[in-house]
Amino acid sequence: MKMDVVIAGVGGQGNIFASLVISQYAMNKNLNVSGAETIGAAQRGGSVVSHIRMADGPIYSPLISRGQADLLVGMEYIEMLRHLRLLNPRGTYLLNAMKIQTVLSNMGMDEYPSPEEILRAVRNYCPRGYVIEASALAKKLGNIQMTNVVMLGALVKVLPFFDYDEIKWLTNANSPSRFKEANVQGFEKGYKLIPA
């Protein structure tokens, strides 16, 4: 058995927290785990992608190759698009409906595609997936930085591989004490974003 997960987003969205929770979950299940983060040189605003590879056999490369990801988590529209071809077309995607402009699109020198165009391309590629308003919900709950825990909650409902109680426990355990309560709440609300 193997489970390859890619989390794609923009620096500052909390990818790495989410990838650590997932990795710890797999470790607790006695699976082999490997992974990698690619982070740009800037502190914030660059593309950030985490690869998490879990298997009951050996894992060689820390990076997931073309068409191998079982789950692609997009924290932002074009970041998900950028890594779409890592996803197995029979896999699952989970997208946060959040648009973060680029420097060049801000200037009017580049065209940020419309959400409709992006979703059409994504659905053409992979029929199974969910688009949720995780950042909007996080903001409503008081802090847009909670997008990652909302996404974790949703992810648990999307794939039976993940166990609700254990991921919730790990979300709590990995949160700094002043954010514990809010993060667990974000996780629970994220779970409810996905229809039963």
Binding site: S34, R66, G67, L104, G108, A121
Partner: protein, 611 residues
């Protein structure tokens, strides 16, 4: 059985060093190596510090090693370049306590100004041994062994991890740390540790450098023998007469590729330099061709060609001299594209995936929203435009000012090159004001030398020091201007105005959140003859926010669309990601979700359309 942890390659390297009993760790931050130093913190009796630059870090470690203490200098490839001068001496003297140099390469320049292969520098040039790990787990084992071997051979050993090892994560077993570390002691050995062009009576008057060179050369057979039986080199059987050699990550990627190949191919895993000559000869016995996957230069390829020539082995050797792409990091795709070209009977069955026919905008780098550099860069941009100035840039967060939209700095090379390059432009007689922009960590790294040179030679350059009090780009490491050490202990911070005073340079300190003040200082500097210094001083916004400290009073910023003419000065000369251009309406907009309310853009707008 030790405790199991899921950690980054850099943490694995740190843990290996701690388990080996390292006592002094020093480095200069640089991706992908930075976390190795941080991860060594917190063990009693182990001194861990950031140094001004990599050469200083290395020399600290060499001093410790001569006192029989294990030490580890940590750096990225650019830093190893800086260390070269010392390396070309310590290779001749050798060391006492185990000294393991961590020289992390960044193939593909994922977070670097260049891509290079420091194996060439350390092994081909300095003739020192190297381990090239294929995973975090192997990196940890190699570091531990390198300390033992370094002491046994009296040579500096080097671990050369690449980004995909440093930033990979894996499950690692943590073993116990040594209960006690040996005490330091020093005995003079001047024939060895005084490197000088002195005649040696013992050797009939031959100069010492030649004798020490001979000493290093005579170590090579021992290194060769050690690597011949090293656990980091092994062969795997396979079908056919085309073999493959994977060095470090090259092996890992080949193993990943195997699932897509129609049969198991002969594979030799290499992780050491010198190469295990006999193992290589044994591996190619029934082969006609070998292909080498290594990061990044065709170094092992050339060495194997040499071995084959010496041994009269008629096996074709291919690799990164062109058969495999000679630039960029190795990828799985490169291997899958290469294998059938080398072994035509092999079928590759990689899952086909649909193409994604949609334009995907690129994210270029920029300063963080709220960053104080954006203020001084904007003021400089306007001054440069008015006086037709030229700006030489340097390494650090401010370098994003050289990209669109600002396109301010005209040159960026390596640490500290801004002030000397600007000096050269001034001396060339361009007849335009010349500026150098440098951040404070880079200034203390070696930029300070360029400033002294400009001062003593009275060169007409305008130096802008972006003093954000921390090495921000790599994750907020302290430097000599910070006032705290890596362990959080309070210490002195260099006072740049006093330094400028002692150099006889006119120094102006400005607040980068006050554009008028910045512009005034820049204009005054332009009109002055001789070197001048502007210190744009304000702590990094991101770090201050994290600490709950305010660097400005946040305010609600909005656009008066009646006044906005769509002139785009706020985008082209300032480029805050919170400001965007609404093309159909030809007006700009501020995204309240991401604006942090620094208010700098209010002064940038000439029409008063930003309130």
């Amino acid at each position: 059985m030790g405790e199991k942890n899921y950690v980054m390659g850099n943490a694995a390297i740190a843990r290996g060093a701690l388990e080996a009993g390292v006592r002094v760790v020093a480095g200069y931050p640089g991706t992908p190596a930075t976390e190795i130093v941080d991860e060594c913190l917190g063990v009693p009796g182990v001194h861990v510090q950031w140094a001004n630059n990599e050469k200083v870090a290395f020399e600290i470690c060499a001093g410790a090693s001569l006192c029989h203490v294990r030490s580890m200098p940590v750096m990225k490839h650019n830093g190893t370049n800086v260390v070269t001068d010392f390396l070309m001496h310590v290779n001749f003297t050798g060391i006492r306590g185990g000294l393991v140099l961590i020289s992390a390469d960044d193939p593909g320049g994922l977070s670097s100004q260049n891509e290079e292969d420091t194996r060439i520098l350390v092994h081909q040039y300095a003739h020192l041994p190297i381990f090239d790990p294929c995973s975090p787990q192997e990196a940890k084992a190699m570091v531990k062994e390198a300390f033992d071997l370094s002491e046994r051979t009296e040579l500096v050993f080097c671990l050369r991890p690449v980004t995909r090892v440093c930033h990979a994560r894996g499950i690692l077993e943590f073993e116990a740390l040594p209960q006690s570390l040996p005490a330091a002691h020093y005995e003079p050995d001047r024939e060895r540790f005084i490197m000088s062009a002195v005649e040696m009576p013992k050797f009939g008057g031959v100069k010492r450098p030649q004798i020490r060179h001979r000493w290093l050369n005579e170590k090579q057979p021992l290194l060769q023998e050690i690597m011949e039986t090293s656990p980091y080199n092994w062969a795997e059987k396979g079908e056919g007469n085309v073999g493959f050699i994977g060095c470090g990550m090259g092996y890992t990627l080949f193993k990943e590729a195997e699932q897509y190949l129609s049969s198991k191919l002969p594979l030799l895993k290499l992780g050491t330099l010198p190469l295990p000559r006999k193992r290589i000869l044994d591996f190619v016995k029934r082969l006609e061709r070998v292909v080498i996957f290594e990061e990044t230069e065709p170094l092992v390829e050339g060495m194997i060609k040499k071995i084959f020539q010496e041994e009269k082995v008629a096996v074709e050797v291919l690799g990164r001299s062109g058969f495999v792409p000679p630039e960029g990091e190795l990828t799985l795709q490169m291997i899958l594209d290469t294998v059938p070209r080398a072994a035509p009977q092999i079928k590759v069955t990689q899952p086909e995936v649909p193409t994604v026919a949609i334009h995907i905008p690129i994210r270029t780098r920029t300063q963080c929203i709220g960053c104080n550099y954006r203020g001084i860069l904007n003021a400089l941009k306007q001054t440069v435009r008015k006086y037709k100035g030229i700006v030489a840039g340097d390494i650090g967060c401010h370098d994003a000012g050289s990209f669109k939209p600002m396109e301010l700095q005209s040159t960026i090379y390596c640490m500290g090159s801004s002030i000397p390059m600007a000096s050269g432009m001034a001396l060339a007689g361009v007849n335009r004001p010349v500026f150098a922009f440098i951040g404070d960590s880079t200034f203390y790294h070696n930029g300070i030398l360029g400033l002294m040179n400009a001062a003593t030679n009275k060169i007409n350059v305008n130096v802008i020091l972006g003093e954000n009090t921390v090495t921000a780009m790599t994750g907020f490491q302290p430097h000599p201007g910070t006032g705290v050490t890596l362990t959080g202990e309070k210490t002195l911070s260099v006072q740049v105005p006093k330094l400028a005073e002692s150099l006889g340079i006119r120094c102006r300190v400005v607040n980068p959140y006050d554009l008028k003040e910045c512009r005034k200082a820049l204009e005054a500097a332009v009109k002055e003859e001789g070197p001048s210094l502007i210190v744009s001083s304000m702590p990094c916004y991101l770090l201050s926010t994290r600490r709950g400290e305010k660097v400005f009073e946040p305010r609600e910023v909005r656009i008066d669309s009646g006044r906005c003419s769509g002139c785009l000065i706020c985008i082209n000369d300032f480029g805050c990601p919170a400001i965007s251009f609404d093309k159909p309406n030809k007006k700009v907009a501020i995204d309240p979700m991401i604006c942090v309310g620094c208010g700098l853009c209010i002064d940038v707008c000439k029409r008063g359309a930003i309130l």
